[in-house]
């Protein structure tokens, strides 16, 4: 178990020098962590795009200070493509990352994944239930954008705690702030807040995870 293990001996496989072994350990560790771990860069980028372009398009259907005015049908197509695509790809990526693995951290990851699905199902049920009582259109709009960002923020706070990642926790705080601000911005300002602050935040986070070396301390 000590330096004796380093002695090179003829084996049925190539035996490496100390330097080569060290390089191999570092390379293989990095590769295994990258391929076994879950890098949220793709999902964050997709949702960043969905928020930025989807809610941005909805914002542009209103008469605003921006000279461009989009027809409602165009915004409907953009959101109708981006949001379902982001949802499906997120679920597929999440499920695939846990393929062939089992154990405590896998169970924690699966429970966290289900938190998103269950949370948004409950959010939809609550919002639809409240809307049925008869809310003004603007209130319905603000309810959906505010509550969605609130839930996203809380789930990233949880993600930060679960994966011991301060950056994801910080992203959660940012999404909570964006959600709260969107409600006070009123309609259609809420769409601009969700698109720029929410979508922009997700985009920046995606870039951060794409560039961050894939070796969190074990």
């Amino acid at each position: 178990m000590t330096g004796g293990d380093i002695e090179l001996r003829a084996d049925d496989d190539q035996v490496l020098s100390a330097g080569e072994s060290m390089a191999l350990i570092e390379r293989q560790t990095e590769e295994a962590q990258r391929r076994l771990g879950f890098n949220p860069a793709l999902i964050l980028g997709l949702w960043g795009a969905a928020y930025l372009f989807g809610f941005g398009a909805i914002f542009l259907t209103y008469p605003t200070a921006v000279p461009l005015r989009l027809p409602g049908a165009v915004a409907a197509v953009i959101t109708g493509v981006l949001f379902p695509a982001a949802t499906v790809i997120s679920i597929v990526t999440g499920v695939r990352s846990g393929r062939g693995l089992r154990g405590p951290s896998r169970a924690a990851g699966a429970m966290y994944g289900w938190s998103w699905t269950l949370g948004f199902c409950a959010l939809a049920a609550v919002n639809i239930g409240v809307t049925r009582l008869g809310l003004p259109d603007d209130a319905v709009t603000l309810l959906w954008s505010g509550s969605s960002l609130l839930l996203v923020g809380v789930l990233y706070l949880a993600s930060g705690a679960l994966f011991q990642d301060r950056f994801q926790h910080g992203l959660g705080v940012w999404m909570l702030l964006s959600g709260a601000c969107s409600v006070f911005a009123g309609v259609p300002g809420n769409f601009a807040v969700v698109a720029l602050a929410g979508g922009g935040g997700l985009f920046l986070a995606s870039g951060y995870f794409a560039l961050r070396p894939a070796c969190p301390p074990a």
């Binding site: 084996d11 496989d13 035996v15 330097g19 060290m22 350990i25 154990g103 405590p104 951290s105």
Partner: protein, 106 residues
């Protein structure tokens, strides 16, 4: 045991899993890009040394083998890495074989 290149790669890949987590044989094989026969041979040797634990089970009537690093295996890799570091660090001054092609100011 783990200074052979292939077994070192297997051990290092398994050490990237959180403690007590297990990986199926096919996913490990895919990760390491080794042939099934080759990987089986190395896993058997690592299992004999008590570095690796193989758990055979069934999922929907299909046999599945889960692989994980034992505490002994994890400790052996840590000791091996520490020993390599000790070997590599002190010789930073004279007999260093780093290439001298980099010529500052040249």
């Amino acid at each position: 045991m783990i200074h052979a290149q292939a077994r070192l790669r297997v051990t290092v890949a398994l050490s990237a899993l959180p403690t007590e987590d297990q990986i199926t044989f096919p996913r490990l094989q895919q990760l390491l890009e080794m042939s099934a026969g080759n990987l089986s041979t190395h896993l058997r040797k690592l299992e004999d040394a008590n570095y690796v634990q193989l758990t055979k089970t069934y999922q929907r009537r299909t046999p599945v083998t889960y692989v994980s690093l034992t505490r002994t295996g994890r400790r052996a890799l840590e000791d091996y890495t520490a020993a390599l570091r000790r070997l590599l660090t002190p010789r930073s001054d004279p007999g260093d074989q780093t290439d001298q092609t980099d010529q500052p100011g040249g």
